[in-house]
């Protein structure tokens, strides 16, 4: 192994030492997290209280502070624009060629807000309640209530920016309903809500870039965090065009880098979405919370073969009008139109009569898996269920269906060459979102002072399962409203002596990054980076996907370190570092996926209960539903990194439910 001899042991330690890590005990338990910084008092007054207590920075002094924002999705773009509007100097990064392309752009269905424009009984309190319940009682009440309060301001903000939401003939905003709720609170722009919201935030950010208030670095990827004297003070980044490694220093660092669904290789995430920023921050001291809470979306287009590079989501909004079914008989290979009505099993309507096809995502996904496991699945390999619009077309007319879902139907037809107006769609669950992420307090600050995480990158608001149309809400709440208030407080309180370019922490981070890239280039093995990604993804999907068992997770925990070792021995990355090198980018991200995957499985193994998207076969009710264990697991699992060769430490943050009483979720 060339790389072992070519470098000093301390430099090679991060990747190679893990193979000799002791296998038991796999983790130890540290001190609980006692204070999340949420104010006491009535839940509906806490955000107001926190904002009042937060110290402010004099407008004239704001230009003296620099804030780094990594990522330009809904959370990052809205934060960068808002901080710049307030007068801070912002340095912002994205790996894409333009900030407009961040993966929020692909969100389809809509954004929730407790406007109650429909007069259908909605309120801030109901959105709060639905979100806590939908998250299976594993989210913080304080945070969720704040999210519900802010939801109404987000819609106002976006409309003012010119986001073209769907409207009624009277010129007012239209809404629709979404899974897991019984009110119509989802605002939408056809099936492209994420695109329109992101373009609104991108345009606000562009205004600040043109004004010189935001220094934008596109095609630049963060590869490490600089922690100097106990505070986050900058990042190490690579210019993806020239390969140049540079350091950027600031008074605070904000990560808005999205989720880690691509650990599974096949997901609905963009191909280049990755976990490097959050994982490097974790290795620098930021706790990682609930990594096993991953969301599997019930309505995706099934994979068509081994060449598959990613999976495509079909918006959950389709479940408003589409009916999900499978043949009652096992192995029924007749075409769907030849299967008579009484030989079809509309299983969601049968099992969950009051929510029907609109049950939350985790429940719909598991139900699909169950019928497929029972041999009733349709399409290649029996890995699919029907989503049928025949009734909707008969009821509303083809034109109305087209107006509502036209672009989704078109996308389906383009990918599958099947016309969903004639034959039902085939759908199957796929990895879509990660509720877990960097642990943050009420201020969205991680355990590294000065390091904030917003949007999907943090763990905060969705508990063990996110409701549809809530990701856009949370990303924009964090970026437009929460972070700008709490960051003020941090910057006002802490004196920030400038960090010198030659500070030891800077030199160490740069050297570590360069070594790592050089190692990847030096292996010269016989396997492509993608081949490792596919293998890791398949393992995780089998053992840490829709349902998890102790035996499977133990198997994955044995296999992942072996795979990691093989990666660093056999990967092949052609070309050099000082150029546009997409293989190098990919390999570097996969190296981090190989580490994060282990923590995900460990978290899933330790959480011996079923809740939300985390389903442990050993913990279920008599009728097969998830069984939570509130006595043992009503906490956030925040993991501390202690070194590549030592076991992580578990810190528990106990959750209190003073306003929503935990019950077994029932959607029947």
């Amino acid at each position: 192994m060339k790389h072992r001899t070519a470098h000093t042991p301390s430099r090679t330690a991060p990747q190679t030492a893990a193979r000799t890590a002791p296998r038991t005990p796999r983790y130890s338990v540290g001190s609980p997290i006692a204070d999340t910084k949420a104010p006491d008092g009535p839940v509906e007054r806490r955000w107001d209280q926190r904002r009042f207590e937060a110290r402010l920075v004099n407008p004239a002094n704001r230009r003296k502070h620099t804030v780094i924002v990594v990522g330009t999705g809904l959370a990052g773009a809205s934060a960068g624009a808002t901080l710049a509007e307030q007068g801070y100097r912002v340095t912002q990064f994205c790996y894409q060629d333009s900030p407009r392309r961040a993966h929020s752009i692909a969100a389809q269905g809509g954004i929730n807000a407790a406007k109650n424009y429909r007069n259908d009984g909605d309120s801030v309190r109901r959105l709060f309640y639905d979100t806590v319940k939908g998250g299976d009682f594993r989210a913080r009440e304080s945070n969720v209530h704040r999210l519900a309060e802010i939801s109404v301001e987000i819609i106002d903000q976006c409309v003012a920016q010119g986001v073209p939401f769907a409207r009624e003939y009277g010129g007012l905003l239209d809404t629709r309903s979404f899974g897991g709720v019984q009110v119509s609170r989802t605002f939408y722009a056809r099936g492209q809500t994420g695109q329109q919201l992101l373009l609104g935030a991108y345009q606000a950010l562009s205004r600040q870039i043109a004004a010189g208030a935001v220094e934008m670095h596109a095609r630049t990827e963060m590869l490490d965090l600089v922690v100097a004297d106990g505070r986050a003070r900058g990042i190490v980044a690579r210019d993806l065009v020239t390969g140049r490694i540079s350091t950027h220093l600031a008074d605070a660092v904000v990560l808005a880098t999205g989720g880690y669904g691509n650990v599974f290789h096949l997901s609905t995430n963009a191909k280049n979405s990755n976990a490097t920023a959050v994982w490097r921050a974790h290795r620098r001291g930021a706790y990682f919370a609930n990594p096993c809470f991953t969301q599997i979306h019930p309505t995706c287009i099934p994979r068509s073969g081994d060449h598959q590079s990613k999976l495509t989501l079909m918006s959950e909004s389709l479940r408003n009008d589409g009916r999900i079914w499978v043949p009652k008989a096992r192995g029924d290979t007749r075409p769907p139109e030849r299967i008579p009505e009484d030989e079809r099993d509309y299983y969601l309507e049968r099992i969950y009569p009051s929510f029907g096809n609109l049950v939350p995502r985790d429940i719909a996904s598991r139900a699909a898996k169950n019928v497929c496991d029972a041999g009733q699945g349709v399409g290649p390999g029996g890995q699919g269920v029907y989503l049928d619009f025949a009734d909707a077309v008969a009821r509303m007319g083809r034109e109305a269906v087209e107006a509502k879902y036209g672009n989704l139907f078109e996308m389906y037809e383009r990918i599958t060459a099947e016309d969903p107006y004639r034959a039902p769609m085939r759908i199957y669950p796929a990895i879509h979102y990660t509720m877990g992420g960097l642990w943050v307090d009420y201020d969205l600050q991680t355990t590294v002072p000065g390091l904030f995480a917003i949007g999907e990158a943090n763990f905060s608001d969705h508990g063990a399962n996110r409701l549809g149309a809530s990701a856009l809400m949370q990303g924009l709440a964090d970026g437009y409203f929460v972070l700008p208030a709490t960051l003020n407080d941090y910057l006002a309180r802490a004196p920030h002596q400038p960090v010198a370019d030659d500070h030891p922490a800077v030199a160490e981070a740069v050297a570590g990054t360069e070594d790592r890239l050089n190692l990847l280039l030096a292996v010269g093995g016989d396997r492509t980076p993608d081949s490792f990604h596919r293998e890791l993804g398949a393992l995780l999907w089998d053992e840490c996907g829709m349902s998890r068992t102790e035996a499977g997770l133990r198997k994955a925990l044995e296999r992942i370190p072996e795979l990691r070792e093989e990666f660093w021995r056999r990967v092949r990355v052609p070309g050099g570092g000082a150029q546009l090198n997409q293989s190098l980018e990919k390999a570097n991200r996969i190296a981090d996926h190989l580490e994060l995957a282990e923590l995900m499985c460990l978290d899933a193994l330790h959480r011996e209960e079923s809740c939300g998207g985390h389903f442990r076969e050993e913990s279920r009710t008599e009728d097969g539903e998830a069984r939570r264990d509130d006595d043992r697991f009503q906490y956030v699992a925040a993991w501390e990194f202690t070194g590549p060769a030592s076991a992580p430490v578990l810190h528990r943050e106990q959750l209190a439910f003073d306003h929503v009483h935990p019950t077994q979720r029932s959607y029947a």
């Binding site: 808002t82 509007e85 894409q96 060629d97 333009s98 407009r100 392309r101 993966h103 752009i105 692909a106 301001e153 106002d156 903000q157 409309v159 003012a160 010119g162 073209p164 769907a166 409207r167 003939y169 010129g171 007012l172 905003l173 056809r190 492209q192 695109q195 329109q196 373009l199 345009q203 606000a204 562009s206 205004r207 870039i209 043109a210 934008m216 596109a218 065009v241 963009a270 191909k271 280049n272 073969g305 060449h307 598959q308 590079s309 990613k310 989501l313 996308m411 383009r414 990918i415 060459a417 700008p484 492509t528 980076p529 081949s531 092949r572 990355v573 070309g575 150029q579 997409q582 293989s583």
Partner: protein, 248 residues
């Protein structure tokens, strides 16, 4: 399927480039065009050769990152993005030419990757509504007629891929620029900046070196999102109106 690919290879900006021929096999009709290139790249990596660089990300036709000229057509024979083009559109034994966007304002970065940052600068010159966070009135304070909302949406669908520029014989960015002008100028929220917006964006577009419009209409034919050609006329109207009113 077995295919012959002729791909534009160029190591860096300003470097000489050439069409290079590759054979790929094991291609199935369900693959997307980019998955077919993935197959080629996996082989190149194992042979120790530099894989073909191309931009891509969401692979579901919405981020606008991908884009290449396939057999002379921007995004290829179907009216969609390259990532949503499937190999069922091609036949066994076909020879396929793959080139980057070619336009003076989109310099080649490497192989099929081009620099489209000029688009960002056009947006920065007025493609927004000034509405600082926190200053918004209630969303229902200003009703927007459904028709205006639909027109705005139709134009807001632009994904900024650059196919319009690549398809245009003049390398013009009129369709891209007009889509944003029409989106924002149609809405009551966009009215206060109506004039400065169109003047600023057209000025930036010209400064970036995009060509003029001669109504060839190739842009709207290539556009994967169906941005309507009349948006260009609408922008011209906005421009004339604004230019007449602007202080000289």
């Amino acid at each position: 399927m077995r295919l012959t690919l002729r791909v534009w290879r160029q190591t860096g900006p300003g470097e000489p480039g050439a069409m290079t021929e590759y054979q790929v096999s094991g291609i199935v009709p369900e693959m997307s065009f980019l998955e077919m290139l993935d197959v080629l790249n996996e082989e190149l990596i194992l042979r120790g050769e530099d894989p073909v660089a191309f931009d891509h990300d969401c692979r579901e036709g919405i981020c606008g990152a991908c884009g290449m000229v396939i057999n002379g057509q921007a995004h290829g024979p179907e009216r969609t993005t390259t990532c949503q083009l499937h190999m069922r559109e091609f036949g066994d034994g076909d020879t396929i030419d793959v080139e980057p966007w070619r336009a003076a304002a989109f310099p080649v970065v490497k192989d099929l990757v081009v620099d489209r940052s000029a688009f960002d600068r056009i947006i920065g010159a007025g493609g927004y509504i000034t509405a600082p966070t926190g200053s918004a009135p209630d969303a229902h304070a200003v009703p927007v007629p459904k028709e205006a909302a639909e027109t705005a949406f139709e134009n807001a669908e632009c994904i900024g891929c650059g196919a319009c520029v690549a398809a245009c014989p003049n390398g013009s960015a009129m369709l891209f620029t007009s889509a944003k002008v029409v989106h924002l100028n149609t809405l009551p929220q966009g009215a206060p900046e109506r004039e400065s917006r169109v003047l600023g964006m057209v000025g930036a577009m010209d400064a970036e070196g995009f060509g003029g419009c001669t109504n060839a209409g190739e842009c709207a034919t290539a556009c994967p999102k169906g941005i309507p050609l009349p948006s260009i006329a609408a922008m011209n109207r906005e421009y004339l109106r604004a230019a007449r009113r602007a202080p000289r």
